[in-house]
Amino acid sequence: MDVYLLLPSPFAATPILSARAGYILLALFGIVWVGLGIWWGRNARSYDGFAVAGRNVGLALATATAVATWITSNTTMLAPQFALQLGVWGAVAYSTASFGLFAFAPMSGRIRQLMPKGYTAVEFVRRRYGRLGSAPFLVISLFYAITWLISMSMAGGKLLNVLSGIPYEVGMTVVVSVCVLYTLFGGMYAVIGTDYIQSLIILFGLIVVAVAVLTQVEIADVHEKLATNRPMLLSMVFPAAVMALFNNMLFGFGEIFHSNVWWSRAFAMREGVGPKAYALGGVLWLPVPIVAGFLGLAAPALGIGISEPDTVGPLVAATLLGTGGAFLVFVVVFCSLASSIDSLLAATSDLVVNDVLEPWVPGGVSDARKRSWATYSIVGLGALAWVVAYQNVGTLATVLFFAGPLVGSCIWPIVGGLYWRRASPVAAGAAMVSGSLIGLLAYFTIGWFVGSLVGAAVSGIVFGIGSWRWPDRFDFASLAKLPAARDGVTDRPGNETEAGR
């Protein structure tokens, strides 16, 4: 979950680990991760194996990949800062992002049932709404995925620099290269497999650090210190935090509902596994921002300086656990970064192959050719992320702020498209375009905290009116047939629309 909404972090602090130790850890993890990618890649020779791991992922790996992907470096690094600046509500607000996983749980089952041979979210929208809906959706999806990929790459360079003093360019290059390599060899098998290990490391690391804090200070002391020195952080009516709660929740819904990162996993999971995995993933993700946030709240009671709130979590860990704590933080942050970057590489490559390239080839594309395109697109996306991230333009991460209204405007067309046969192409296209534009206008004229809200509200109204005025009568069963480009039929097989005429 990316909460850049309040706290565009400058990441400036004293390293907690030597550069030498950082390089050793990077080399170790790089070798292990790439080795695992090659090992799992034995199963990824076909495109189906590479893109959706053979569509047979079991509950353990499915649950873990939902947890690990939703934990970005921001969850572990910024949650303590969020709590330190917005108090208890800040941590609770962050944890509401798990509601997106709960809401997506039944949708994942529906997606798998409707499109047992599907690959991407854009493919669903194209076959459900035709080009009228898929054009804005593809633009939003690519914008969001590529911006997120670049910002995660930048975060990699900055965080490794903060934690160990490794130069930004070196850290960023290593993180991006390692992720590209193991995703390239192992595809979705490597992404989901490493996600399992990463989720265990992250959860275990958080428990160790939080327990270490509790051996040094009582929760009552933390409460007392906050009540005396920073009572606002314990306030139950902290307006900014309450607004953050609703905004995060909506952003989370939009982010998960539209992003191919989550759809590709729904396609990869064995039938019947998706709803359980996403619901369980939400339950297991829910405490992560709260536990990480507690590190921020405990810092004043522990006497740890908070002049640089963006690194309060690592500082607490390193102060209490010494070098071991610093190692642990480095590993947790590396895992958080890798679990997001690999997912974005794989899911965005699916978009490039299935939604940018394949529709232009009449008569469809062979499995081998798609497999080869996937390789090139992953290398291309990695190179693009590296080139842009190398410039280290500080304001770039703020571009992701704009994504709030854009992804918010996709909520209703996606939900309606999955469950409501009256939902029509005109309504979906108009909802996404108007929601995005008016949401962005609200973002710039009123403030960040209304961007997602206005985007989702306008989109919902336009979508409702559009589907009422120009209703469709979509045949959901048609989605189970092979896609247009693969069986040479029309672009939108279930189209019995009144609106599209």
């Binding site: 199963n43 791991a53 053979g54 047979n56 992922v57 079991g58 509950l59 353990a60 790996l61 649950t63 873990a64 947890v67 108090g87 208890v88 941590a91 609770v92 098998y189 399992y196 989720s199 265990l200 959860l203 275990f204 958080l206 428990i207 939080a210 327990v211 509790l214 929760i219 009552a220 933390v222 409460h223 009540a227 009572p231 314990l234 306030s235 139950m236 009516v237 064995r270 369980l280 339950v283 297991l284 829910l286 405490p287 992560v288 709260i290 536990v291 507690f294």
Partner: protein
């Protein structure tokens, strides 16, 4: 009006316990999946 101490305790202890449950759950699920040859 401030968050009472018990609420903070529930959040923190509950959060750590849930993280622990998460680790155990993921390991148990993997064992079950591997027994049934259902990992992938």
């Amino acid at each position: 009006m401030m968050f009472p101490l018990w609420a903070l305790q529930v959040l923190v202890i509950g959060g750590i316990a849930l993280c622990g449950v998460g680790v155990v759950t993921l390991i148990v699920f993997l064992i079950i999946d591997s027994k049934d040859k259902q990992i992938w």
